[in-house]
Amino acid sequence: MTKSYGLIGGVLVSALCGCSSGSVSSSKAGGSDNANSGGGAFGAGARPAATGGSPAIIAPAAAAGAAALPPEQEQSLNFLSPQPGKQYVYVANPTRDSVAVIDSVSLAISEVTPGDTPTYVATVPGEDEALVINTGSSTLSVLRTTATGTTVSSPLPIVKGANAIAIAPGGAHAVVWFDAAQPNAKALSGSFQDVSLVTLSPSADAAFTVTVGFKPSAVVFSDDGQAAFVVTSDGISELRFASLQTSVIAPLVRIESSAAPAAGPDAGATSPDAGVAPDVGGPSVDSDSEVGASGGDGGGASEVGARASDAAPVIADATADRADSAPPIAGTGLPVDVSVTRDGHWAIARRDGTNEILLVDLVGNTVRSRYLSSPVTDLDMSDTTDVTGGDIHAFAVLRDESKLVRIAIPDGFTATSPFDTWQLAGETVGLVSISAHGKYAILYTTAVPIKRLVVLPLLPSGTFSPLPVVLQKAIRAVAIAPDESTALVLHTKVPGNATDSGLTLADQLDRSYGYSAARLEDGFAKLQLTSANPDPFAITPDSSSAFVLLRDDASNLRVAEQMSLTTFLVKDFPLGSPPNAIGALAGINHKVFVNQVHSEGRISFINWDWDDGTVESVTGFALNGRIRQ
C-alpha cells in the first residue's frame, strides 16, 4: 500500500520552517534554524507551540513556594515537512525511496532516488541544496539542483537512527545526529552519543562520526560557520571543523546537573551594586573555576556558584531589587535554552527549573554560574556584535517576579558585575523573544491565559519603556518579523463552542481560534479570528506578509490566509486539499509553498506580493517523477 504524501505530511503537527527567516527570533548566534529541535529549544520561545502530536515541551519544575504555573511551551521543527531552497522545494517520500524536487517557477517536478527510505530533509539556507537522511541505510545524500537537473551525491554513512540535521551558516558543514525528542524517535533506535560531521563540497562531500556528550538536544553554530556546538545532557561538545579531520571524541565543556539546591539570592547585600552571594556548595565545574569560594562579601572571585544579586539595575528608572530571601530552586538541572555568541566563544544556558544561568567559555572550557532571585523560565541572547558598537547580552525571565534581567556577556557573569533588571509590575511574563537585531524584546507567557504581552525596546541602551500590548486572546506563540516592525501572535482557544448562547463577547473570543498582529513601535494590535487553528505559519523574508494555514477536515476548510504586515489586511487562498506545511522560498520569486494532503502529493505556490497573489498548484509527485522528457 503506497503511503501517501499526505499521510507523511499528516504526521507533521506543524511545520514551521525556520528557513523562513522571519519566523523565529534570531537571537541565537549563527546556525541554521533547521537544527532546532525541541529538546533544547534554544533561541527563545519565539516559535509556536505544537498542536497535537508530540510537541517538544520544556517543563521546568515549578519553583518551590511559587505559584504552580504550568510550564511554558515551545515547539520543535520537524524535518518530515517539505523543505524549501531558493527556487526548489524538496519533498521526501520514504515509501517510494524518492525525493520530489519541485521547481517553484515552472512547477516542473523531478524525482530523484537518493537512497533507501529518504525521510528527513533539510536545505541549505538560500540555496537549492538539500541534505536527505536515508533511514533505511543510515546514509546521507546531498542533492544539488540547477536548471539542468538535480545531482545526487553518493550516500555518505552517518550515525544510525539519525533524524536531525543542522547546517552551518555558509553551508560548508552540517551535523547530523539522533534527536530523541523528535516525533517518532524511538528509544534505542539511534546513537545517543554519536553525531556525523559532514563536509559539503560539490566535488567532495564527506562525513565522519564524532563522539559527543550524552543525548544531544541541539546544535548551534558560530556565525562564521567554522564551529558547531552540540548541546548534550553532559554539557556542550565542541566541533571545530578546521581541527577535525577524522573521528574523535569531541571536547566537552561539562555542565553537570545540579545535585543540590543552589543558594538563593544575596541575603545580606546592602549595596545595590553588590551582587555576589556566598557559594553554598554550588556544583564544581572546570578546573579553572574558583571552587569553594565562600561569599558573603559579595566580592569573591569565584565564578562558580555565583548567584545573582538583586542589585539595583543600571537603568535609572528600573526598580532596584532587594535581595530575596527565597532559597535557591532545584529543578531537573538539565541545561536548556542554550545560545552561542556569533564568534563561538561563549554560550549561555539555564538550568531547567532553577535560578541558575550558566556562561560557558567554549574556548577556555570553563563554566560560570550566576544565580538569580527566582527560577529562570526563559533565557535568550542578543548578539549585535555584527554591527559597530554592538554587544552581547543574555536575557533571563524571572516569571515569579515578573522580571527581565539583562546580563552582559561575558562580563556580567563575574561575581560582582551588575546586571540590569526590569520589573514589569503587574505583568506575568515567562518567555522572551529578542528581535533579529536586538531592537526589541517581547515578553509574554503561555503558561496562563494572559491576554497581554510586553514590548520592551532594547535600544538605545539606558532607556526602559516597556509597552504593554493588550490582546483579545491568550497567547500560544509569538514570532517577530525580520524587520523588527511587527510580531505575529498565535492565540489559544478555550474549549467550547463560541456560538453557544449566553456568552459574553470575551467568552466568545476565548472560544474562537485566531491570531493577532502587533506593531512593535506603538503596540497597535489587530485580532483576526479564524475558523480553524492557525497553524503552521510563516513570515516572508521581506517581512511584508505572514501566512497561516487554516484546516478543518470536518467542514472542508482548506485555506492559506495571508495577512499584510503593513496594513494588517487579510486575504484567503482556497486550496484543493488540506494543508499541512508552509514555508517561504529564499529566492527572488516571492513565493511561499503550501504542502497539502493528497495521495499523489500536492503543493501550491503562492506569490506573496499583495497585488499579485498568483497561486499555482501541482499534484502528483510520483507521476511527475515518471515523466520521460
Binding site: 515552472s106 486539499s577 510520483a622 507521476l623
Partner: protein, 532 residues
Amino acid sequence: MKRATRLFLLLGLACQPNSETSSSTSRSVLPMVALDNSVAYVDSSSGSTFLLDPADPALKPRILPTGKSPLAAVKRKGANQLLVLTHGDQGSASTAPEPARLVLIDPASGAAQASYDLPGRYDQLAQSDDGVFAVLTYGSASSGASGSMLYNPNDLEVVRLDGKQPPLASRPIRSLGSVPIGVRFSPRTTLFGQPRTLAVVSAVNYVTLLDLDNAQHTEITVPLVPDGKQTVTPAQILFDMTGPVVYLRADGSNDLFQISLAQSTPADSSSNDFRVSLSLIGSGSAPSDMGMFGTGDKMRIAVTAPGAQQLVILDPKTGNATPVPTGAQVNRILLFQGPSPKSSEIQDRAMLAGVGTGAMALVFADLQNIETAQGLAIESWSLPAPISDIRLLPGNLALLTHQYGYGGAAFSIVNLADRTIEPIGSSGALDDVTVETAAPSRLWGTDGANRMEYLDLAGNLQGREVILDQTIVSITPLASKSGDGKRHLVLEMYDPMNVGYLTVLDADQPDRKGARSAYGFLLTDYLERGQP
C-alpha cells in the same frame, strides 16, 4: 446407333456450358467522403477512387487509380482534397510489391497531388484541424490489422501535408505497455517563439506529446497512473494554448490531468525546448465531460459528474473544486457565450444535459461567479422526452435529439438566450439525421424509407418533405457550390450490390423535380479498367 451415340457425345463435349465462375476477390467500398462540392468513393477491390461531381449532367465519375488495398479515405481538413491511405501489396513471385501509401487527391483536377510511400502498413489516420499534419498509427497490437508479420505497433508516421519539408517523419514512440489509441492535435500557435502544433497520442495509462514541427525531437511520455494497478484510458483532451496547458479527462480516473508546458533549454539537438509537468485536479466522481471557460486567472474548467448530479468548477491554478448541485444526471456540457433571460450581458454560460441517462431535465448554468453563487446560478427545465444527442447550432440555438417513443417529440430546439424549448414532433423515428450548422441551418432526416424530411432551424421551424424513389441511407449536404452554381444535396440510396447509387438534389431548394440519380456508377468503365 453406337456411332450416333458417340457423335452426340462428342458434340456434347464441344458444347460446354458457358457458366464458369471467374475468380473474384471479396469487394468492399469505403464509405462515401463528402468534399466541398463533390463526393468520393474508394473501391478497395480495384484500388480506384471515384470522384463524382453532382453538377455533371451525366453523373459520370472520374476514376483515379489510387493504390492497392485502400483502407481509409477522408477529406483533408481545411482543404478540398481527399486523403486515401492504402496498404499496398506485399507482392508475390509474379507480382511486384507495392508499398503502402498516403495519397492526396485534388477532386478538381481528378489527379493525385501528392503520394507518399510509407514505411509501414498503418491503418489509422488522424489529422490536425488545419490540415497541415496527419499522423498515421497502427490501430492494434495484433498483426491482423496491418497484415504485417512483424511490426512495432508504437511506430507512427508524421506526414506534413502543406508541402513543407520534410514531408515524412517516422517516429517510433516510447511505450509503457500499450499502443496508441488516438491522436489529438493542438491548435497551431506560436509556442516559445515558434509556430508549432503539438500532438497528444493517447494510450492506456499514458499519453505522449510530440512537437510535430520538430518531429525528430524526443517525445515526452506522461504517465497517468503511478503503477500498474489501475487502468486509465484518455477520453477527452482540451488545449489551453495561453498556458500552454493540456487538460485531459480519462475514464477510470476521478482526476483531471493538467499537463503544463514550460520553456527550457534543450540539452542537445534532439531535445525539446520545453518541459512538461503534470498535476492532478480532483474533479469529483467519474467526470463525463469538461469544458473551459474564462480567461487568464479566471479560467476555469467545468466538469459534469453525473453520478453525483453535480457540475464541478475547477480552478486549475489552485486545484480548488467547487461542486454545484444540478439536480439531474447530466453528463454533457455545451458551453456558449450569450445573454440569459435575466441578463442581457454576454457571458460564459452552459447548457447541461443527460444524454442517454434518461434524465428529463435540461440545466442551464451561468458560469460567471458560479463558484460564489453556486446553486443560484443553476436553472433547470423539464423535457418532453429523454435525450439521445445534443448539438450546438449557430444563433445561440441548440438541438436536442430525443429518444423515440416518449410522446412523439423527435427533437427540441432550444433557444439558449431565452431558455425556451420547442419540441418538434414526428410521426415516426427519424433515421440518419444530419444537421447542417452552416447557414441555412437545416436538419435533414429520413423515415427509414424513401421519404426525406427537413426542417429550417433558423426559420419558422416548418418541416418539408421530398419523396424519392428508393430507400434513403444517408443525407449529405455539400458545403460549397458546384460548377453549376448550385449547392447540392447528395443522398446515398439503398444499394445492396454496392454498385453506387446516389440521388442529387439542390440543397437550397430540394425538390423531387430537380432530382437526378446515378445507379451503378461504380461500374463505370469496368470493361476497360485494369484487373483488380
